[in-house]
Symmetry: C2
Subunit: 410 residues, 2 copies
């Protein structure tokens, strides 16, 4: 593989997406690649020749370690999806011309389902046109919804953040409750799959009861049953904490968070007000029970809180980046690196590879057998699967009391 | 000081309030106190004789270390304020009878302004009635609004959480912005004083621009100027992140968060909808600019996220607890332990003591000279003051990938 390579980041950021860049860079140097370019803002930046030279930033092993500890997309991300080449061949001609111009012989794209479609299109176009470039996908998504791979880098750190924060919120709420409990409703990302919300169950342990109920998008949300459950919990406990996916859906197909926006929520300026589902449900519970309620949203912190990233996740993100370069070096293209679990206990996970067409545009749901019969919790099967993914910590480099990050020069 | 002692926790929890209990317990053992009782749910639990024996939980130095790493009130908290003894002498007679029954010779109360009023009332009553018991207050509040003391234990850890989370949110938002920026509005606790919101400025450094504006309750909030500022920022930056106190107030005296509730926000069930000020402002900006906006609230995590507590804060919380017992042992009563800063750089802070009447029911505002001329940021004076308080980390004891906490048996 004589020439240069380029790597890009796409879609929602994660706490460990940069660890994959570190893996790509380290492997590239190990196999003798001269230049490792980074796309600034993914394939969208690539098409505008908005590149950086990673060698400018990664001069020492300390820089590599700092990159592994930097959250969100170091290179910048985008949500641009390549058109089908049958529809717009010009874009592909341009992409390959740019690669030739910079003597780029392999392209690595770190992302989820949509990003893998970009890898698929580019590799198929190259095959048809006899281009020399190789294309390898590197899995990344906090949503954990890619098929084939056992799990996705990014998920473990998001799950760890959710488990820890949920535990701290429960501990906080248990401080009070001398008379009546406060009901806390915590909204967690994942509109279509409950992987992230399920991680709330990982807060449970000898020292923590965990959330009192977990509402997943896979289970139809019943308002009456929900209120009845809260009333029962409030009558028997001094603290009630509920985890709910942003994607919980009513029997008629509406998202719970749409229950608010369909009616006239208009502020003093005449603007419509939109609320998350936790806010809608906290409001509902307060009105129906008279209890004090609090809505919490983990927001973007659940995907970018690298100060508490999982060491397992950081290492695996690095490994899939490294393996992608080795695969391309060995002549592979049109594939994505996967994680293959060999054992839960002790946890052992190896590296695999699969055809990109098995991945692109396919979503994996949370297995139904990991949801308890009442639809409001996770089974031990899920815990056995997810626990190893949140193990270990990699402390940030602290400067002035806050984690130091590696950033691009503007 | 022959006899037993009791310690209680009151008001909102913090990440380090238990470190003060650890300090009390360790000092008590050092001076030969036999039993150290804990009030379960503060003075309210005390009056119901709801005690625990801290010796049941703190059998080894590992237990002490675990307690220092446990957030929120280990003993349980309350928001009960003692009546004035002129109004209800029976409550005081009861309190002193309980102390005699358990041979309690000193009472320590960890809390903020309201809790110090309880210490004041009890100590004054004891003086008038010639009671032998001693009463010493231990400062605690994330709000940092106690007078006399340089700062309050609890503030440093909350400030560290806010600085780190703000930095991670900024990093996340900078991932995108190829075309238009997303405007993120982060709501931070502190209805009457801007101490916590100010901590957003601590995210700024060589690798982070920090929030683009910080809106404090000390400065009248001007809606038009706010929207104009956002429009200007959005025209010149690829990411806009704003910090705003939950207590920002309009010229007519209304809280910004009340702008929503005064009009008809009614959901599908006929319930009034309440929103935080970040939600109200994010909604406003979206409507006025057409930009994508996101409201983030740090919620109770800013006071209970002990996984990222400040080591300085943990140590100082321990020291004030320890010093309170030493003070009582030396015969002092009706006082509160304070922190006395000797130097900013290098940071040096000693222990002082003051009369409880200087503290009870008095609030300290953020100094006006630490707010920049435009009212939207903090000066270097604030940074010099606050930076030392967020320095250092004390890693949790991790079990199964999450921090282990010490909990009371039910």
């Amino acid at each position: 593989m004589n020439g240069n390579i380029i790597v890009g980041q796409s879609g929602g950021p994660t706490a460990v997406i940069n660890s994959s860049v570190a893996g790509v860079y380290t492997a590239a140097k190990a196999v003798g690649i001269e230049k490792v370019y980074g796309m600034v803002h993914g394939i969208q930046g690539f098409l505008a020749e908005n590149f950086c030279d990673l060698g400018d930033y990664l001069e020492s092993s300390t820089d590599i370690e700092l990159l592994k500890r930097t959250p969100s997309a170091f290179l910048g991300s985008c949500r641009y999806k390549m058109p089908k080449f049958a529809d717009n061949e010009a874009v592909y001609e341009k992409a390959f011309a740019i690669m030739e111009k910079y003597n780029i012989v392999a392209l690595f794209y770190i992302g989820g389902n949509d990003s893998m479609d970009t890898v698929k299109q580019l590799s198929e176009y190259a095959a048809i046109k006899g281009k020399r470039q190789r294309f390898v996908g590197i899995p990344k998504t906090v949503d954990n919804d890619l098929p084939v791979t056992d799990h996705c880098p990014g998920y473990g750190s998001a799950a760890k953040y959710i488990a820890i924060s949920m535990k701290e919120i429960i501990r906080d709420n248990e401080s009070f409750g001398v008379e009546k409990p406060t009901v806390v409703i915590v909204e967690i990302m994942g509109r279509h799959a409950g992987w992230l919300t399920a991680a709330a169950a990982l807060s449970r342990g000898e020292d923590c009861v965990g959330p009192d109920a977990i509402y997943l998008p896979e289970v139809t949300f019943d308002i009456d049953a929900f209120v009845a459950k809260i009333k029962h919990l409030a009558a028997t406990k001094s603290s009630v904490v509920i985890a709910v996916s942003e994607g919980v859906t009513l029997a008629d197909g509406r998202f719970v968070c749409e229950m608010g926006s369909e009616v006239t929520f208009v502020d003093a300026f005449g603007h419509k007000q939109l609320s998350g589902c936790a806010a809608v449900l906290a409001n509902l519970v307060a009105a129906e029970t008279g209890l004090k309620t609090r809505a919490v949203e983990f927001s973007t912190l659940q995907r970018s809180a690298s100060h508490i990233a999982s060491l397992t996740d950081i290492n695996e993100a690095y490994q899939v980046g490294y393996a992608a370069v080795v695969a391309a070096y060995e002549g592979k293209t049109g594939q994505m690196i996967t994680l293959l679990r060999n054992s839960d206990e002790p946890y052992q996970c190896g590296i695999g590879i699969c055809d990109i067409s098995e991945i692109a545009n396919v979503e994996r749901a949370l297995p139904a057998e990991w949801i308890t019969a009442d639809g409001c919790d996770l089974t031990d099967g899920y815990i056995k699967y997810a626990r190893p993914l949140i193990m270990g910590e990699l402390p940030p480099f602290y400067v002035d009391g806050v984690p130091r990050h590696l950033v691009r020069k503007k």
